[in-house]
Symmetry: C2
Subunit: 221 residues, 2 copies
Amino acid sequence: MRAIELTRRGFFERAALAAGFWAATSPAHALTDISNPRLFTFIGGRAGGWEVVSTKALAGELLPSVSHIDVIQGTLTPTPAGAGWILRGVTSNERYVTRDQKTQLVEKQQPLGRPTATQMALILIRKSAKWWALTQDERRALFQEQSKHVPIGLKYLPAIARRLHHCRDLAEGQPFDFVTQFDYAKADEPEFDKMLVALRATPEWEFVEREVDLRSVRVAK
Amino acid sequence: MRAIELTRRGFFERAALAAGFWAATSPAHALTDISNPRLFTFIGGRAGGWEVVSTKALAGELLPSVSHIDVIQGTLTPTPAGAGWILRGVTSNERYVTRDQKTQLVEKQQPLGRPTATQMALILIRKSAKWWALTQDERRALFQEQSKHVPIGLKYLPAIARRLHHCRDLAEGQPFDFVTQFDYAKADEPEFDKMLVALRATPEWEFVEREVDLRSVRVAK
């Protein structure tokens, strides 16, 4: 395709010629470079609001070991040089939930950040190319009828709070497709573990090719 | 939530303290900053592979007027100062198509860039907050049963080639949710227009709050 063959250098040369014309009135920056309000950045390093207590790889490679995690709404520019890892994801519209399930979720679910929720887990998931090549009806059947993903999750509400972030469609390649952030009270940790055991036994999880489970506790202010 | 309250300045101060430890071995850059291979950048300016012949707003605001368009696979850093507008989007998994429809699409559809396809259209769409608040089953019913989006599109294959780009879940806020790029021979333009008339009359289009229709012709090499 002609347009795709265009070199970057060629574009810049022509853009430079055009710059005099556009510079004064160009609204290009107004149309782009505005951070998506649904963007979250997860930073593993040596300092942060959450102290890591365990890091496990259930499938695929582990992440580099870090002692602390921070969760930032928005982005960080430039990338902090001292971080062990940085993950980004956006909250988005739901991809499989039905109206009936949504009604139940809205009734029961709690937001992240309750004062009693001193435990934070990040579950990092990458699904296989085979999953992404499925059509919507096939993925929905696996997620809903065969795996009962939402009914399993509903059983643990309101104790477990959850926010799902999509990483797959960001411009920058990401090592995971999803980052799900959970928080809960210390006493509810066994329930959280039970939920993970149930989900990991479903047909949906046969498409999980990388999974890292990070647990942390809130750092006292 | 503690982590979200963290200021950027606080993070950088701590990151700087940690930098000595991490600098030598940090794989943070390996985990991020890799351009998504499914990313495309659309640049409107005074030069490019396609010469604009018309720009129409069907709903909402028009884009700034430009004479040419370039389509680049990947990203451009830094943003070229001379551009009138820059849009970005990623190709992704299909959100509504069924296996049966996918089989028909794979059989009939042609890739962008055929030598005879001298006409290029970009249809830029933003859907309303109401659309995005619908659940998957509601959006699917509107898209499939009520609007027959895929059967309408199938009627115009293989003459019209198409590639859909998702913009909504990028980290940088985008003025549109979707950029769809089409190309076709000059003789097929009336067919392309018929397809748009049919789609714009569907219940799905009641959720379109901004739509810009850009037509262009390939610049002779």
